[in-house]
């Protein structure tokens, strides 16, 4: 029963990753091709809830692949992550989106 549940989560996670990937590429291609750029680069810092190293690897890779965000740094105590975002217009939305990814990975690891 547990194995079935785990497999289901892994499949769902891979599908989620692919959807995010295609979405991110469409966003950035649209932004580059159109003459007027609407990017406002900025940095945000977020607290980390994931403890294991494998989870951190997955999380930073996925954050680098989501639309308009790139992992810059994780501090030494592993409790804070610094992210460069490309669309500063709606900061709260980006924050909640990254929190949702973090909860998903936390659920997957345990």
């Amino acid at each position: 029963m547990r194995i079935v549940k785990k497999t289901y989560f892994i499949v769902e996670f891979v599908l989620f990753y692919m959807v995010k990937l295609v979405q991110a590429n469409i966003y950035i291609a649209f932004d580059i091709v159109t003459p007027k750029m609407h990017t406002m680069p900025d940095f945000i810092t977020l607290p980390l809830k994931i403890k294991s190293d494998f989870g951190l690897l997955l999380f930073s890779n996925l954050v680098s692949m989501t639309p308009g965000s790139l992992t810059i740094d994780i501090n030494e105590e592993k409790n804070c992550i610094e992210i460069h975002i490309l669309y500063n217009q709606n900061k709260e939305k980006v924050r909640t989106e990254i929190e949702a990814i973090q909860n998903k990975i936390n659920y997957l690891i345990n």
């Binding site: 990017t39 790139l70 740094d73």
Partner: protein, 94 residues
């Protein structure tokens, strides 16, 4: 079949071209890295799928899955490393 292969190949090279255009157009290093990290690996992914559909043999499919996994594990890591060293140099200059 040829239609699907040509769509994949053309989209893949178009995404690599878009990444180069982004490298030219953005005005600071972090934004440039957004373009090269995402669009380049997606373009290589589409090109590899097109070529694997063209040859369509078992060993080529296994090799292409391995290359795609490797690229998607390492492209964010390389960007992370460059960004971290750039940030430390920036802090040292101030």
């Amino acid at each position: 079949m040829i239609f699907i292969i040509s769509i994949f190949v053309l989209l893949g090279s178009a995404f690599i071209f878009i990444a180069a255009l982004g490298l030219l157009r953005f005005d600071n290093l972090y934004s440039r890295m957004h373009a090269t990290t995402k669009a380049t690996s997606f373009g290589i992914l589409l090109l590899i799928i097109g070529i694997a559909l063209f040859f369509n043999s078992g060993i080529i499919w296994i090799k292409s899955v391995l290359v795609i996994l490797f690229i998607y594990l390492t492209a964010p890591l390389a960007a992370h490393s460059v960004a971290k060293s750039y940030k430390e140099k920036d802090e040292k200059m101030e």
